[in-house]
């Protein structure tokens, strides 16, 4: 009995010690960062080196995303809600000739260092960008930059109809190169917030830019916390330690679908799609490709497997693009139609095992995909079931090593992947990377003479309306050839506490913390 008492006393002492430690804790510091005034704390799953965003220096890898998302830097032009280019730090542009662009800058804009934004500042910034940033150098193709007061004249080495789109990429954030870039990757921009400290993969602290040119920022301080675990992000928002969240897992959404939180969702151009391998004998059969396109139940995949957190895709781009959504037509889910097409092509189940055969070959396709995007293995399972009903045998290979497998055209028949099809709002990117003879990842070796001709025209077309028309025509060609099947577009959501307004999801995914973010009245 005495022993029991001693042990119980010991356990009670432990509990008391825990209580005492808990008493020392305070959530106030987390929510206000220990600084004066109003503070907004954002939990973000993506701000880390793994996403090539180790800091906020737009001239480093993909760190420009952090620079623009967290309200530090701004670009000369930006994207509207319909993904059209509109002026931002610039007010207008003039296409002098096919190689020369004259851009007029906005008056009255200053960097947070106090330096006025003028042509010379933009020239210094862009020259440094193309000196150190391989991707930007390749995209922009800048030959010379000349500055004259509030005007910048850019010449390109070859016609570049998409120059303004590329200048709107996050790497195009204009930063003060007189102040420079610190060792920690901190820069000075023109945005509503100024960086005070940065610890890679942990936190970014910002204060209000008192001299912001486009209104008064709504919060005195902003802290961005890198929270890689989805459950932690969920509970941090529930406990009130953070005021907004980016990258919330789908499963947590129901917890926040109430009046205490504000949801903002939009379709992005990140698409989950299927490449056909034209080197594969079975895929070369038009009927097989057509049956696959008709055998994928996109609606059910989005509704059941993604719990409605996506948008069934028609073509390459979502419907918030003028050349996206219903601008093209794609085959819908039609298992009976698919069966009829296969029957007509000679694919029949002769032995009654549920799998069709033709001339001794079974209707087996090797489905290559990878697990790092949670949607892709789910898509593979969904397709395995629906195509199985039509008479296909689908062998799934979901592996992190997909990049080395997909370059071997003999190792797969169908490859499902995810990508951002229009990161700069322009349609050319997807085609130039995936569909042409010169494309870097045309691993299925698809070729269309008509598409090649239209792509060449797109490269030389400056008129945006004509570019949109070309984008529609080009999408329709690859859909009619069943060279690619687009399954769903990612739904990007941001959730904030109801006492905050202005945290709005944008289709290009670039703008998060803006001057409009403020405490609710």
């Amino acid at each position: 009995m005495k022993t029991e008492k001693r042990i119980l006393t010991l356990l009670m002492a432990v509990c008391l010690a825990l209580g005492a430690l808990a008493g020392c804790s305070s959530n106030e510091e987390a929510s206000d960062g220990g600084t004066a005034g109003t503070t907004f704390v954002l939990g973000d799953t993506t701000f880390n080196a793994e996403n090539e965003e180790p800091d906020v220096n737009p001239h480093n890898a993909y760190s420009g995303w952090a620079c623009i998302r967290y309200g530090i830097g701004e670009t000369l032009f930006r994207y509207s809600d319909t993904m059209e280019i509109e002026p931002w730090l610039a007010t207008e542009y003039e296409l002098v000739d096919e190689l020369t662009w004259r851009i007029t800058l906005r008056d009255g804009v200053t960097f947070s260092s106090g330096r006025a934004l003028d042509g010379q500042a933009v020239k210094e910034c862009l020259e440094h960008l193309i000196e150190v940033h391989d991707r930007a150098r390749g995209d922009l193709m800048i030959d010379t930059i000349t500055a004259d007061s509030q005007t910048v004249t850019i010449t390109t080495t070859e016609p570049r109809p998409t120059l303004l789109n590329y200048l709107s990429d996050p790497y195009g954030c204009i930063i003060d190169m007189e102040v420079g870039i610190t060792e920690d990757g901190i820069v000075v921009g023109t945005g509503p917030y100024i960086v005070t400290s940065l610890v890679t993969r942990e936190e970014l602290n910002l204060v209000k830019n008192e001299n912001y040119w486009d209104g008064e920022p709504g919060f005195d301080n902003v802290t961005v916390l890198t929270i890689s675990d989805g459950d932690t992000l969920t509970m941090a928002l529930q406990s009130g330690e953070i005021d907004g969240a980016y990258g919330m897992p789908y499963a947590s959404y129901p917890l926040f679908e109430n009046e205490d939180y504000t949801f903002s969702s939009t379709a992005t151009s990140r698409v989950f799609f299927v490449h056909m391998n034209f080197e594969s004998e079975i895929i070369q059969d038009d009927a097989v490709r057509q049956a696959i396109a008709m055998g994928i139940d996109k609606e059910r995949f989005v509704e059941d497997l993604l719990d409605g957190n996506g948008y069934p895709a028609m073509g390459v781009y979502p419907d918030n693009f003028s050349f996206g959504g219903d601008a093209v037509t794609a085959k819908g889910y039609d298992p009976d139609g698919a069966k009829a097409i296969l029957e007509e092509a000679g694919w029949v189940d002769t032995d009654g095992d549920g799998i069709r055969e033709k001339e001794g070959q079974t209707l087996t396709i090797r489905w290559l995909t990878y697990p790092s995007r949670q949607e892709l293995p789910l898509l593979a399972e969904s397709v395995q079931a629906t195509l199985g009903e039509i008479g296909f045998e689908v062998i799934i290979n979901s592996t992190a090593d997909h990049n080395s497998i997909r370059v071997d055209p003999m190792a797969w028949d169908v490859y499902a992947s995810a990508m951002v099809t229009a990161p700069t709002g322009d349609p050319s990117y997807f085609f130039s990377t995936h569909c042409l003879d010169s494309s870097a990842v045309n691993n299925g070796h698809y070729h269309s003479d008509e598409l090649e001709a239209l792509a060449a025209e797109l490269d030389e077309t400056f008129d945006t309306d004509r570019r949109a028309e070309l984008a529609v025509e080009m999408q329709q060609i690859i859909l009619d050839d069943n060279a690619f099947v687009f399954c769903s577009h990612l739904q990007m959501s941001m959730i904030s506490q109801s006492d905050v307004t202005g945290l709005v999801a944008h289709p290009c995914d670039f703008y998060e913390i803006t001057v409009d973010l403020r405490p609710a009245e």
Binding site: A22, S25, A49, P54, T200, T232, N403
Partner: protein, 314 residues
């Protein structure tokens, strides 16, 4: 004794060579590399020229043996390289994670000792009585629940419902370490208290306990001075194994609580194929286990003189 310790430490050299070589090879067999992983994470497509240039910059275009020898040569000169992902020095990054891991290890082991030894002894002393049953059921529950589930439960009750602790424990402090340490301690205690119970029961059945009772020695004295001492070898073996594992980090618990230790770093490094960081981690684990095992063997000699070290003849 001195020779024994030196010999054991010298064994570290071939062990390190073998396991670093094996891990280097296995990471290549796993496919992909840091350049492709980064590209995949961004969701963007870059040209093969850009990929090749990035690989060449990191030395990934060279043959496997050349890469390993280059890494080993740098290591012998005291340079563990730089992370392929963050671009920061591996050694300084690794060292910066150690305080968090050490604190988590110490606190979770202390909590485990405080919970498992008293409860294990109590269950043994009260064998087949209500107290014993309650403790055994609690142990069963603790063993059944995976760490991530316990972590989420603790977070939900202590951080959201009671608001005693923060959800985010990113600052390394005694206050922030409690929930992650408790998560680990619950699973370890559940396992250990059964072991302690079994060992104590075994000792209690021995003749010397009955003899002490016959001579009128108080049971609590026999328990504290003889039985518990005899159980220590078992307990220390278990604890040292756990210490080795904890010093290697606990990726899931660290991720959930945002506790910035070496376990999470290692998993991130593996996912991103950050070879220099993985090699540093592999070396750390080898050193830990050799040292922890050595300390355990030495402690046996102190606790139980019947055990001789180094094969010395009795």
């Amino acid at each position: 004794m001195k020779h024994y310790v030196v010999r054991r430490l010298l064994q570290l050299i071939p062990i390190l060579l073998i396991i670093t070589f094996l891990s280097f090879g296995m990471m290549r067999l796993a496919g992909s590399d840091a350049v492709l992983q980064r590209m995949e994470n961004t969701g963007m497509v870059v040209s093969q020229e850009v990929i090749d240039a990035a690989r060449a910059e990191l030395g990934l275009d060279k043959p496997f043996l050349t890469q390993y020898c280059a890494w080993l040569g740098n290591l012998l000169r005291g340079d563990m390289g730089t992370s392929y992902i963050s671009g920061q020095e591996v050694f300084s990054t690794f060292i910066s994670k150690l305080p968090a891991t050490l604190l988590l290890t110490v606190v979770s082991i202390l909590l485990t000792i405080v919970v498992s030894i008293p409860l294990g002894v109590l269950a043994a002393v009260k064998q087949n009585r209500l107290t014993d049953y309650v403790i055994r059921v609690a142990s069963f529950l603790g063993n059944s629940m995976p760490n991530f589930f316990v972590a989420l439960l603790l977070m939900y009750f202590f951080a959201i419902r009671l608001d005693w602790f923060p959800v985010i424990s990113r600052e390394v402090s005694l206050q922030n370490v409690i929930l992650p340490a408790l998560t680990l301690a619950i699973a370890m205690s559940a396992k250990y208290l059964r072991q302690v119970r079994a060992t104590v029961l075994d000792e209690l059945s021995k003749d010397y306990v009955a003899g002490a009772k016959a001579r009128g020695v108080k049971f609590s004295v026999t328990l504290a001075k003889s039985v518990l001492r005899a159980c220590l070898v078992t307990v220390i073996t278990l604890l040292t194994l756990s210490i080795g594992s904890l010093l290697g980090g606990t990726a899931i618990v660290e991720s959930i609580f945002m506790w910035d230790g070496v376990g999470k770093m290692a998993v991130d490094a593996i996912n991103m194929r950050d070879y220099p960081m993985i090699q540093a981690y592999v070396m750390w684990m080898a050193i830990i286990y050799v040292c922890v095992n050595l300390i355990t063997d030495l402690s046996y000699r102190v606790l139980d003189p019947r055990i001789r070290l180094g094969g010395a003849k009795s």
